[in-house]
Symmetry: C2
Subunit: 146 residues, 2 copies
DNA sequence: TATATTCCTATTAAAATAGTAGGGATTTAG
DNA sequence: CTAAATCCCTACTATTTTAATAGGAATATA
């Protein structure tokens, strides 16, 4: 309930790894797996939708790996979360107007749609670059497992 | 993911029923069950935490039921969602500082905490009264099942 | 005393989440 | 040309969460 799944959380960590290597050689999943302590096999599940969403490029074969498709300043958390989680909407109601009774529901629906938009907008404002910048400023502070 | 469960959605609908009857006699769950098309047994699971959070009062026995503990203008969606869903945080990390390595995680954690606060703040701004007012204004519009 | 109600706990079914497993395809290095 | 490192794809499984049902005890009214 209202929780981000590991897909979203790990997905951002994964992308942040690529962002920190932006401009360099492709980063293989094995590296990220070690640094982020997430199994390589599980990372494969996260990387697939990111690639499909064209947020990353892949290079196959030895010396291969992944790179960001755009500079870190142009990739937002909304892009990432939408890609790996499918959507950001807080409710599923895709609006089947044939089932329209009970005006009460309609008003709750509006509220949930607004909330979804708010979340989406907020995540749009955070780029990978921002996260990196914040990181370098707040170094030597404590961390936790997300 | 980032989805509200039925607890949150039904919980708001339930409270809205009570809000619309505010000042009147206690409303039994059987009534709400019929109007909202949610089984009475399931409503019992939603009502329990609402009572525990002191958002409603109950009257037992025949002619019993539930009433809001406060006027609809003083009960927010945040109150309701927090009560029925347990919390609004988008992540679970309650911050175990002993596990602190990887400064990267720390920065993602900050982002999720911010998002949680944003959601919480937004829901705090919506009272049951607001929803009722909105409803009377937009009558005869279409509804959907949330 | 019969009935309508809240209240409490246990159980179950279905769906989503989290993660593993195996192997094919591609590219580089030697 | 071959071995190794990599991405890629699909299937499977275990765990947890969600959603809901079930049965009955306690309480109050008429």
């Amino acid at each position: 309930m209202l929780k981000l799944s590991t897909k979203g959380r790990y997905g951002v960590r994964l992308m942040l790894e690529l962002a920190q290597n932006h401009g360099g050689a492709p980063v293989p999943l094995s590296d990220i797996a070690v640094r982020q302590e997430i199994s390589e096999k599980y990372l494969e599940h996260l990387i697939a939708p990111l690639k499909k969403a064209k947020l990353i490029h892949s290079v196959r074969g030895m010396k291969g790996g992944y790179t960001l498709a755009n500079p870190p300043g142009r990739i937002t958390l909304r892009d990432i979360v939408t890609a790996v989680e499918g959507s950001i909407s807080v409710v599923d109601c895709t609006g089947n107007p044939s089932k329209c009774r009970r005006s009460k529901n309609c008003l709750t629906r509006g509220v949930w749609a607004e909330l979804s938009a708010k979340i989406s907008g907020h995540l749009s404002s955070i780029t990978l670059q921002k996260l990196i910048d914040k990181n370098t400023k707040t170094k030597e502070k404590h961390a936790d497992v997300n």
